[in-house]
Amino acid sequence: MGNEEEMQKIIDYSGREFRYVGTRTVRPDGFDKVTGRANFGADFTANGMLFGAVVRSPHAHAKIKSINVDKALKLDGVKAVITGKDFPKLDVNDKMVGEVVVSYYDMGNNVIAREKVFYDGHAVAAVAATSQEVANAAARLVEVEYDVLKPVMSIAAATKKNAPILHKHVRTGGVEPAPTKASNVANRAEFKLGDVDAAFAKADVIIERDYSTQTVHQGYIEPHACVASTTTDGSVTIWCSSQGQFMVRAYVAKLCGIETSRVKVIPAEIGGGFGGKTVVYLEPLAVMLARKAGRPVKMVMNRAEVLRATGPTSGGIARAKVGAKKDGTLVAGEIELTYEAGAFPGSPVALGCMTGFAPYNLTDVRCVGWDVVVNRPKAAAYRAPGAPVAAFAVESALDELAQALDMDPLELRMKNAATEGTQAPYGVKFGRIGYQETLEAARQHPHWSAPLGPNQGRGIASGFWFNIGGTSSAEVMVNEDGTVIVATGNPDIGGSRASMALMAAEVLGIDVARIKPLVADTESVPFSMLTGGSRVTFATGKAVIEAAQDAVDDMRRRAAKMWDVDIDQVEWENGCAVCIESDQHKPLSIADIARKADKTGGAISGKANINATGAGPGFGTHICDVEVDPETGRVTVLRYTAIQDVGKAIHPSYVEGQLQGGAVQGIGWALNEEYVYDQNGTLRNTGFLDYRVPVASDLPMIDTVLVEVPNPGHPYGVRGVGETPIVPPLAAVANAVSRAANRRLADLPISPPRLLAALSKG
């Protein structure tokens, strides 16, 4: 078979006949969302509910000398005021040690400042009152006396000799000998394969350059919001929008000093998270206010609060170096990344190190990362945390290398693409992956060969994300009429209800319309890890498949009882139990079996609790066309194509949406988005007018190509898809602009002033 034929076969992969998986069914949440019936975080109300407001620091870096709440408490309608002193004291070594290390000390100090404030907008107190207006007025009456310190707003400022130190307990980790002095450099990470220096010595061409990106926000449309209610026995119920009801439960229990069993979290619909809702901000405040006031408390952030005090992801600087032979064979790669962690340690810089060169077959590679604290909000996860900045540097360097070699940048990537067996920079060899297939799809796409006009340029870039599995649970409950409920513990951010229903339908053999997918609260299903890491369709999907199979086995047992035959004589075909040994027994549908459930053993259900492994890595390749206006510096995105190996698209429309959304967010990161602080460390662009995310009128239709190279670690071939699509766009856009402007744009965002400045250099 020729290479082209073979590629076509892979791209068209279906592997097995699916009846429901891969179809574009009506989304289960669609009607409620378009008619305004869906309940998001701010939509819930409770009897006697109070309204909360947060007192936030106007300073980026200051010691709290005193907080006086007397005036606020005297205001008519105010029912409670809390400060950091109302929370249990946390030790600096208080961590949740598990799959990832969570510092409760840092988290608690981020939720509400204790001794110091670390960024503009840092919470210092909160009030609850009978109306939002009164709560806001009371917040203004809380008197906080600060000892203002010099803010440390950038990596350069943080790493300067004699820079003000944010945390006296932070020592640089990952270096030997272990430092004895406090530092703003929280950690160092390093990954290395082979002998990089010797390999560079063999290169015919070496490209080396510095790159920079700015702090950007996840930009979810729905602000953080919750309602908390407490009872006299100390139990707490929280209604909130988050990426994980069990995550909220665990963090609130710890930060507020409550047993886990006494915290119930009911998930609301979520209006975007992108990683930014994998942490808590308001929930512990609402709980402590509710407890103090003895009434439910609702808290909703405004946009300025969201931008000042939640998210964002790290701005970073990178130095990337690539070496190649004249024929384009890569011989060595090196990258040094320094990321802002924000106010507390923990940027995703190690993940940047692990991902930047992952798409390429390099035996000699070194990646070093530095984690640096600055007086900005604590960095939170954002789609493929750490990867976009690293990919921006590496993929830009490769574009420059292709230009230096006078080589097609797609062919350069194809020549060096990672395949099955390639060792990633973090040491692990890939299993079956589909990176080459995305490049082949790009090569065959009409976009790649379309003509360009004056001042126009085309960029291409690729990206990688690991994807993860983890703990997931699912229950499949068969109702008396044969309809089915599929309950899971993961908020539906990117269409998981639809994909859970489709996968259950595939196992059960019934129309997906007869299945109701449910996002259950923390007391109704067993624990699941949060929705993130592109894990839910993969891991929770695996749990749903197992739970549905468990229900099928239960129904086979019931049918066997009804027919008085051995269960081995009962098979499951097209949604019916079929007796293989006798023609006398007419097949029994789920409805037939459910109707007799009382007589055959009671309710019918299936369940699965798993820790899913086998997540297949994701690779994507994006093509971007831009036009540069040399007079204004404005960049217009003319055409954009996102191509990705998605394993198997359970619901293709949602998968396409993931690719489109990631591309759009990456375009914003590349062209417009950045935090603008003044010299005092005060954030100046606290709304969507000034923090400029791309809107529909800024963009062309984002074309998508779903390449399906099945993941052998999932029964239906699923790979996570939600994060990979934000990895390539930064470089795809920058490469396009660089080619259009005939000079390398290495600093993001490529906003009109920055581009004009670059163009003015001649």
Partner: protein, 82 residues
């Protein structure tokens, strides 16, 4: 004996910078116990935010995963996601 690869930072702190070690053990818990006998304190360090790849299969939350004599066991930073 399985080939165990430590992260550079961990190797520098506990193993004089040597990343590769031959270690006996039928599962990952036994491997970590054996490492801890050789490098006291490494068990706690590896239990904090560290995933493991056994023959290139990544386990985020490791405990009793089987390891064979010719396995490669590679400790990695745990992978978060957005």
């Amino acid at each position: 004996m399985a080939k165990v690869v430590l992260p550079l930072e961990v190797a520098r702190t506990f193993a004089d910078g040597v990343t590769e070690h031959a270690v006996d053990g039928g599962d990952i818990r036994q491997i970590v116990r054996a490492l801890n006998q050789r490098f006291p304190g490494i068990s706690d360090r590896l239990s904090q935010g560290t995933a493991v790849a056994i023959d290139c299969e990544i386990y985020q939350d490791w405990f009793l995963e089987a390891v064979s004599a010719d396995s490669e066991v590679r400790f990695l930073p745990a992978i978060e996601g957005g």
